[in-house]
């Protein structure tokens, strides 16, 4: 018996320090993953249960939600259902996101081409820090600049008060520009050097090489960059809320006040009581946002998969 104990105490039987560290590290990383997964699941559960209760508990009509144009969840219509027409916000969000992607994509891809193909050294040394600087500016600053510069400018140039989708689009385009640019740059730089060399060896000019080889090869990556930008634009709330005007109507032009899902959501949250129809309706908007961002993420993943295969 005494001998046994002695043998167990032998250094070879003991767990080594490294082993313990290994175990510890495994647990630590596993816990981090578990916590992240739990948080994600909790958020999904909360948003789904709250967002769907507008339709289940308060008997709001799903069709009204996506096609109705009047938003007044505090009151009920002739059928006794809450008035939850979110179409104006959906239209606003989609318009703002789409147009700002259209505006910023060519700019971003152009800048990325410049930085990687035309003048890599100046591009890297000057352009990249400048563009990265844009990421660090808080969105409230963008909103305030939009309010003091963009809105008065639009008011002077076009009829109307200056608030509207146009102002929101301009502010958002600048905001998503750095994201799209740096992702587009990554995509272009990942095009193998051999392709460029082969293209030049066949006698193409630099421009032909960029157009026909580099951009073509980088296309899935560029698409991903644009979609990432759109995801950001769709979810941005503060800056847009300040310049879009927040009128819950479908605007007739780009220069009339409109609203987005996020702007209505952030404006309304503090004024509603938990568990009431007004509050649930806002959660439904949050659910739409969540689904949209899931959609964007899945699209990006699918494109990424297509690129690899």
């Amino acid at each position: 018996m005494a001998k046994m104990i002695k043998e167990m105490e032998h250094p070879l039987y003991r767990k080594s320090n490294k082993m313990r560290m290994e175990r510890f590290g495994k647990w630590l990383t596993f816990l981090s993953v578990a916590l992240t997964a739990a948080i994600t699941a909790a958020i999904l559960f909360l948003v789904f249960s709250k967002g769907l209760s507008t339709f289940i508990t308060n008997e709001g009509s799903v069709k009204d939600f996506f096609t109705g144009t009047t938003w007044n969840p505090a009151e009920v219509n002739s059928l006794g259902k809450p008035i939850i027409g979110a179409l104006p916000f959906l239209v606003g969000s989609i318009a703002v996101t789409g147009i700002s992607a259209l505006l910023s994509a060519p700019l971003a891809i152009g800048a990325a081409i410049f930085m990687s193909e035309i003048a890599p050294r100046t591009g890297k040394r000057i352009m990249q820090p400048v563009i990265e600087l844009l990421v660090g500016i808080p969105s409230v600053v963008y909103g305030f600049i939009g309010l003091t510069v963009v809105v008065p400018l639009l008011r002077d140039l076009f009829p109307g008060s200056g608030f509207g989708i146009a102002a929101g689009t301009i502010v958002l385009s600048v905001m998503i520009l750095p994201t799209v640019t740096s992702l587009a740059l990554d995509a272009i730089q990942s095009v193998p050097r051999s392709l460029r060399e082969a293209s030049l060896a066949l006698g193409s000019t630099r421009w032909q090489m960029i157009c026909k080889v580099v951009l073509k090869t980088a296309k899935p990556g560029l698409m991903m960059a644009i979609i990432f930008g759109m995801a950001r634009a769709f979810g941005e709330a503060l800056a847009v809320q300040m310049v879009i005007g927040n009128a819950s109507v479908i605007p007739h032009s780009l220069f009339e006040p409109a609203s987005t899902v996020t702007s209505i959501l952030t404006m309304g949250m503090g004024y509603t009581v938990m568990g009431q129809v007004e509050n649930n309706a806002l959660w439904s908007l949050a659910l739409v946002l969540l689904l949209m961002s899931l959609f964007f993420t899945i699209t990006v993943r699918m494109i990424g998969k297509g690129k690899n295969s």
């Binding site: 505090a74 608030f163 009128a247 938990m274």
Partner: protein, 298 residues
Amino acid sequence: MRKRNRITVLAFVLLCIGVIAGCSSTKASDSEKGKAKQETEPIMAVGSSALQPLVEAAAQQYSEKNPGSVINVQGGGSGTGLSKISEGAVDIGNSDIFAEEKEGVDASNLVDHKVAVVGMGPVSHPETGVEDITSEELIGIFTGEIKNWKELGGVDQEIIVINRAKGSGTRATFETFALQGKEPIDAQEQDSSGTVRKIVGETPGAISYLAFSYFDHTTTALKVNGVTPNRTSVESNEWEIWAYQHMYTNGEAKGLAKELIEYMLSEEVQEVLLPEMGYLPVTGMQVERDAEGTVTKK
């Protein structure tokens, strides 16, 4: 090297623990301090963002005079304040509106303490050429019937209506007492009074409404039916667009909550702090208004 790393990690962990312990032990150390002076539990006041700065300032003054009393003040909107207090989750619920007016709030247990009055009024861009309008004209503007300032004898300029967000206390008050319950058109909505003032000051033809505390030279405060919006006209109810600022407690106020509310109603807050911050003293009102809007002489 490894040892040093470990010591750094250890020190960091200790620091974290220290910070967390420091944060959570305020209660303990406060009650120790409180024993010397008086027994006080920290309280929490949540709600109306319009009332928040006033309660914060008053709470700070109160704490300076009574060391050991901890009063946490948070915003979140009147809806939040009312729902939290009726759940009993906080000690005081701040609100711009009567609890009876908010759907989904059980007002039966709540005790209302009116601590201040806020006057509100229509404001317009300074260059509209209009300074005095009738209440019919005001309703016409906000319901979209009057579209140009020249219809009111001003310059030829399109009227741009700016609303506050649905559910905002200021908007509710303005709709009830200025628009006589009429729903304004779907126009621009802005979240905060500061933004509204900035937009009205900069957009030609704009009109909106603000609390008196936000009035300044960048906008024109319109007279309604010839009455100037100021403290005297509110106190006599000649200017009808005003609202109480409520501090609700669940059941009768007790402990620090009671003391804070008493302090809010004391002369030094009502006569000094309130006017300084742009609120009107509730003690000066010559009339009283209940949740249904019925006005009685005091």
